[in-house]
Subunit: 323 residues, 2 copies
């Protein structure tokens, strides 16, 4: 049986073999560029591993896995324009490298390219796959819109934040997982359970991302406090705003804009408030809770526990836990 | 039998009935806004009329017709950002009304919405329709990229220009027409002929659009010379550049940028060169030639001439000719 590393290699190989025309060069070069800036390939991995629970031939799912990965990279490309982000995974973003208009149009072509990949799936599956893919795609747009709306709002509740994350982050994970289940031939009930699994996993995953930005992880070697300096409404921030005194509330909402205060001091001040309000502990509790729920959902599937082991191991590695 | 006006009414009705969620409001309101800024509905009309050649029940094609129209409006939405265009069909563009980020994201959602419409078509047709739709969509992106590339180039040949228009304008017309043929159950040969018809019609249509911008049409009441003032490489301009003396070439390439010269004088100077080089006559010849070719292609279809009459009449009305 294939290991997860071998599966990742197969996904990379498939993505590398997608042929884009040479011309017009400024339409297609940014697509190849962003697809080779290799990420974790989390979404196609989830799709393939889920499919593998139900069939011995999950490799037939590869075009759908590629569709989901190409779609994910399309969202990053357009998000970078909206966020005015010059860097992506340690390289210049398409937006920074080619400019806004190229980034808009290449992104559009990439979204279409995702559908081109999906359309390679067997005809008898296509209506269901297309419908599910569309739902995933529109939910991600809704999540991005809520995220942008939150930027200009004074208050965002924890519930609103979690709903936004369900759309912006979890929708791609649930989409990938459910597509894998459909292709594998899972029952309707198992498909629903896997949707639930991916939803909770996505929440745990995003909350951990939020946590690491403020509290770091030596494995990432990433600068700490980027979200704090941008005044971004993360799970930590909305939790803190929810619990803060009026004075702390004002500090949290305004300090990041103050040109008189150094970056280090801003980060320290916000984290001191976080500590006082037990924000870190709350976030860790939520991550643990969501992750447990995700794994418990897998227990309820109609398959042998051994069949889900690879998916469990992969999910655990994402959240950095042994299970 | 339905008249073309009734068909247009049915298309408007269907488009108006597409339900978009209320939230997030800033994602969906721009979509409804741009779909109600009623255009000619040229592409769904072509799809439905083509389908009607082969079946008595072309109304089953309505979701595909809507998909093509929604896709077309998505391209306008993103084009307006790339062109920095404040107005669209006499109203503020989505870009001007809601800003760049909303226009990017709503456009993305609109592209997905086009696929949602397409996915309502019968399952047995979906693989072919999806594949053809994808081809159409990516060709339009390629055409837009070539158009942007041409802006910064000194010379563009007439052949290059026509190739760009085949992608940017004709691809949507060929896509709509071929989708209609597939849904109607046309033979492979008839489908190929209809592709050819729409390709030539699209060229005639775009060249006429180029011509009207410089020479006007009292029916439109549009300002004349907009393309000249922007230095846009239209069919008229690339034809003139191809034939111009060195001196006229320099004038054509630089006069639109000269802040010392009035708009009226710029337009008059360029049109004087156009007249000297017989650009208007050349363009009219091309429009006539392409339009004749389009109609001749319809003669070769395996159906009775009477069955194609409505499509002929509609094509003629587009180019403003009696046939």
């Amino acid at each position: 049986m294939q290991t997860n590393d071998q599966l990742l290699g197969a996904i990379e190989h498939y993505l590398g073999e997608i042929c884009y025309p040479e011309d017009p060069e400024r339409l297609y070069a940014p697509i190849s560029y962003s697809l080779t800036m290799s990420g974790k390939r989390l979404r196609p991995m989830l799709l393939m591993l889920t499919c593998g629970i139900f069939t011995d031939r999950p490799d037939t799912a590869m075009p759908a896995a590629a569709a989901v990965e190409v779609f994910h990279n399309f969202t990053l490309l357009h998000d970078d324009i909206m966020d005015n982000a010059a860097m992506r995974r340690g390289n210049p973003s398409v937006y920074a490298k080619w400019g806004q208009n190229i980034a808009i149009l290449s992104g559009d072509a990439m979204l279409i390219s995702a559908y081109q990949q999906l359309s390679k799936m067997p005809a008898e599956l296509l209506p269901r796959l297309l419908s599910r893919f569309n739902t995933m795609a529109i939910e991600v747009c809704e999540g991005q819109q809520y995220d942008m709306d939150f930027e200009s709002r004074e208050r965002v509740t924890v519930e609103e934040y979690l709903h936004m994350i369900e759309l912006k982050t979890s929708a791609l994970l649930t989409g990938a997982t459910v597509l894998g289940a459909i292709i594998g031939g899972a029952s309707e009930e198992d498909t629903q359970l896997l949707h639930r699994f991916a939803l909770e996993l996505g929440l745990a995953f995003q909350l951990q991302d939020d946590l690491l930005d403020s509290y770091g992880d030596e494995r990432l070697g990433k600068a700490i406090g980027g979200d704090i300096l941008k005044g971004k409404k993360t799970f930590l921030m909305v939790t803190a705003l929810d619990r803060a005194s009026d004075e702390d509330f004002q500090t949290l909402r305004s300090i990041y804009r103050d040109p008189q205060i150094s970056a280090e001091e801003k980060i320290n001040t916000v984290k001191t408030i976080y500590d006082k309000l037990e924000v870190k502990r709350q976030t860790e509790l939520q991550i643990g809770l969501r992750f447990e729920r995700a794994l418990c959902t897998l227990d309820q599937l109609s398959v042998q526990t051994a069949d889900t082991q690879r998916l469990r191991d992969y999910a655990s590695s994402l959240i950095g836990r042994k299970k």
